[in-house]
Subunit: 251 residues, 2 copies
């Protein structure tokens, strides 16, 4: 019994990972968080992606988190703005920029994994105690879409972080402490280029036309922010047209 | 510059720890979470305790968490109830009960620590980048009140869990990755008996008369649940009267 939770933001990366998870799990639930992000458009995209993939979808309100993690341009646009010199993504190409950009939201991936683990543990405890499924038959996994190539500046996108958080979630759970069932964290695109992610998504027939990558909240992608630029480059290098193009002339 | 966050539920243990933290920090914020707990009475107690201690107090709504961590009697009273044979706390005295009780809420302490770390990291990044305080002068700590004696059944009350979660929070943070500033987790009562906690709270002049320990949500403590029984035993063994007595004849 392969139980899994996939973290679905509605972007290209998490949509590709969720399509992958669907091929690996017997029971799969997609989780999306509302945490006061300025780009709420992606929550609507997540619902469309989950529907296209045929997944049960839970949208969970954790708005209070934005008040706690206030030192970020994504949760506190009054104080911070995405810096202009990052809009073209140029510094990242050079590999010289060691500063973490202000789009970093304190402990965000740690929080998302903890909430996913709480849901996964509930599913697994119910399977064991409620349905009587033997513990040896339970396989519990979280699928998440960090990327260490494009987001090398983010501390919570590094592979070594995922080994740490996996141990913490295990040690803090009844599932492991009482039943000896681990929770694994799958990061299937962590070492892929954006072009590699596009290819993987196309191979899996992931609904990339429903995804949203732009940091801004317009009716169409802005085509200029870091995230739009990375996406456009990925499709171009993979040799596919983006099914959700940015505004002409802005790319 | 000693920056700290204390997790204040409004109970005896976290009130004692918060009084201790107040003596150790230059800037201290108390955090209380609303997560759909059935004993919402403790949130009101937390506000009274914070006021008595003169602390800035943030009450943060994370109600969505209860939907995720649904396999617990504290988040899902329709399905689970605190089992009658645990009400007297007798099995715990014998030290033979290896099952984790259904008052365990999946990954709760991991979640609370992650949210506290997000706030602490925001405070610290603001001190460094906003105020220009040198990184060597920053000391960042989270104070939390787990207890490995009375709650030995809970996976997230064991000392070894705190070493794991400390590393995860550090590795997932900009504060550590970019600035080399660790976040420490202080568990000052983890090895104390309930009597020891009462003595410590009395010595610190903690406002124990404002605290709430009962799992139920009445106008007075029930005097019969696990938490009330442990509290009464602690005051009795410490040799102090409880300033907030249970209903007469129910203890």
């Amino acid at each position: 019994m392969r139980l899994a939770v996939t973290l679905l933001s509605g972007g290209l990366d998490s949509t590709t990972v969720s399509a992958y998870a669907r091929s690996k799990a017997d029971r799969l639930v997609a989780l999306t968080f509302r945490y006061g992000q300025t780009h709420g458009r992606e929550v609507r995209s997540a619902a469309q992606v989950a529907e296209a993939l045929g997944l049960r979808h839970e949208v969970v309100d954790i708005t209070g988190y934005a008040r706690l993690a206030w030192y970020s341009s994504l949760t506190n646009p009054q104080r911070f703005r995405v810096p202009a010199d990052r809009l073209a993504g140029a510094s990242r190409e050079a590999g010289e920029d060691r500063d973490i950009p202000n789009t970093y939201v304190p402990l965000r991936n740690t929080l998302f994994l903890t909430l996913a683990a709480a849901y996964l543990e509930s599913m697994a405890l119910d399977a064991i105690e409620g349905e009587g499924i033997p513990t040896d038959d339970i396989d519990a996994r979280i699928y998440i879409a960090p990327n260490a190539i494009d987001y090398s500046g983010y501390p919570d996108c590094r592979p070594e972080f995922y080994e740490k958080v996996r141990e913490t979630l295990m040690y803090g759970s009844k599932l492991w402490t009482q039943y000896g069932v681990p929770m694994e964290i799958e990061t299937p695109i962590i070492r892929l280029s954006k072009a590699g992610i596009v290819k993987m998504g196309m191979d899996l027939k992931a609904p990339l036309d429903r995804t949203w990558s732009c940091y801004l909240d317009g009716s169409e992608p802005c085509g200029r922010c870091d995230s739009c630029v990375l996406r456009a480059r990925g499709f171009a290098q993979a040799g596919y047209p983006d099914p959700l193009p940015a505004r002409p002339g802005m790319g």
